[in-house]
């Protein structure tokens, strides 16, 4: 009898301490894993069992173009974001706190502002009669408005804007962790500033650049809102195509096959990132 009582411990207080994870595990299994797996099953069962949905996706030039667009935009956005973010993160890492907190404040304000608000602002800024085209024409740099919206240029500008904080903030952490003495030592040994940058500062910040860059790349691949609003219909990206297949065409088989491809690519890159930086370091960004 007493034995029996001992075994009836409350479920949340299991001796190995795993009980607390139970509600979270139930939530994620029931409302994340099951729906996603069920969706992916539809890609090989609808309209008839088989891999023909994937054959269609890989065989058709229209879809090839969407894949190409998606990777192109993600690559360009990541490259530009890294190049722009690095000097800013560098300054933020060593700036006097009073000045730095102003820049941090601006970054957080932009990051926390509603995503649709920011995208709407870029739609207004980039349109034919928008502020940018009007200013450039007024100062005589161009005579015709530049096509800045409903094409991949617009998508890239809007995406870089959204991704910058995600690159800058983790990079500041990486740069702050570098011991300034290593650079002093380099200078004492006669290294020029350029050499010290190329051989010390850049290699030491490479893990942060790789981790942030990979995160920006992965996020860009699956982004829906900004490419849809700034890209127009002829330059569709993968996420928008998936949504369209489901919402307008009601083609669940093809849509879930495309979703599966996006999922596999994303998860593979995520695994690579975990290997690069470790699960704990990666989540230090927020």
């Amino acid at each position: 009898m007493s034995c029996n009582l001992l075994h009836r411990q409350p479920i949340l207080r299991r001796p190995d301490g795993s009980g607390g994870a139970l509600p979270a595990l139930t939530l994620i299994t029931l409302f994340f894993v099951v729906p996603v797996v069920a969706l992916l099953l539809r890609s090989v069962t609808e309209p008839v069992p088989g891999l023909h949905n994937y054959a269609t996706l890989f065989g058709d030039g229209t879809y090839a173009r969407v894949f190409f667009n998606t990777f192109l935009v993600a690559t360009v956005v990541t490259t530009v974001t890294v190049i722009v973010a690095f000097p800013v993160a560098w300054m933020l890492a060593i700036m006097p706190p009073a000045l730095g907190s102003i820049v941090f404040g601006i970054i957080i304000l932009s990051m926390w502002t509603n995503l649709l608000t920011r995208t709407y602002a870029w739609m207004v800024l980039l349109q034919r009669t928008g502020v940018i085209n009007r200013t450039l024409m007024d100062i005589g740099l161009i005579s015709q408005p530049l096509p800045l919206i409903n094409n991949l240029t617009g998508v890239t500008i809007g995406m870089v804007y959204i991704m910058l904080p995600f690159m800058i903030l983790p990079l500041v952490g990486t740069l702050r962790a570098i011991d300034p003495m290593t650079l002093r030592a380099a200078a004492l040994c006669g290294a020029s500033p350029f050499e010290a940058f190329r051989r010390i500062l850049l290699p030491l910040s490479l893990p942060g650049i790789a981790a942030g860059g990979l995160m920006v790349f992965v996020m860009s691949l699956g982004y829906f809102v900004t490419p849809t609003l700034l890209g127009g219909t002829s330059n569709m990206m993968l996420a928008a195509m998936i949504a369209q297949m489901i919402q307008s065409l009601l083609n669940w088989g093809l849509g879930s096959a495309a979703a599966f491809i996006l999922l596999v690519v994303t998860m593979a890159l995520y695994a690579l990132q975990l290997r690069l930086v470790g699960a704990k370091r990666m989540t230090g960004g927020i």
């Binding site: 894993v33 000097p87 709407y120 602002a121 200078a187 829906f224």
Partner: protein
Amino acid sequence: MLLDYDRLGWLRAALLGFTGLVAAFLLLPVVLIVLLSFGSSRWLAFPPPSWTLKWYGELFADPAWLEAALTSARIAAMAALLAVVIGLLASFALVRGQFRGRNVLRGLLLTPMVLPVVVFAIAIYAFFLRIGLGGTTAGFVIAHTVLALPFAIIPITAALEGFDKSIEDAAIVCGASPFEAKLRVTLPAIKIGIFSAAIFAFLASWDEVVVAIFMASPNLQTLPVKIWGSLRQDLSPVIAAASSLLVFLTLSLMIVTALIRRKLSK
């Protein structure tokens, strides 16, 4: 001396200038939207020909906007509460637990943050259609709790890792029950982490667009869905007015957060 602010020489001016430009780039759309919301031009000409409050008038004259905002606030509050409670329990297991597969579990619980939201959106949309939760508040709250959970777990586990467990053990030695020790010693010590978790989880739901577009029904619209619908029609300045209020809300949230964090860390 590349990491010494005082000895950067000419490079400092260049880097500071560049940082200033990027800060301006980040600030530009936010400031522009606020200015345009007071401009009289329907086509959002800048600088505006004159100043007006009529877009705010139109915004408040249409009850659908306020209703959408209230719906968003209600769903976000419930999702944030659920995510923080579930995330808090999970964080104890992830930080203190001694069981196999702890890192796999951590990875699994954080996956909703990594998986492209459009994939989750169509998956949960199909699932909820089948089990009858499509277009309901409960469905919205569940889906948003899943998405908000990683944003709750990350700050709470970080805070918990920084807390010395022997303090909690000391309370137990002094006669507190394990539950009481957690409630009265550990939770107050990690309150900044819990507070950040609540803010992030709330924002994750409040700003969520993609799941909301799929889940929304004519009677249940969140604010992002309402903005999305208007954006697809035209770039009306009424959206600028709504957006400016959102910017104002963000700013107040930032200030309140900074104040509370300062107060909590005392």
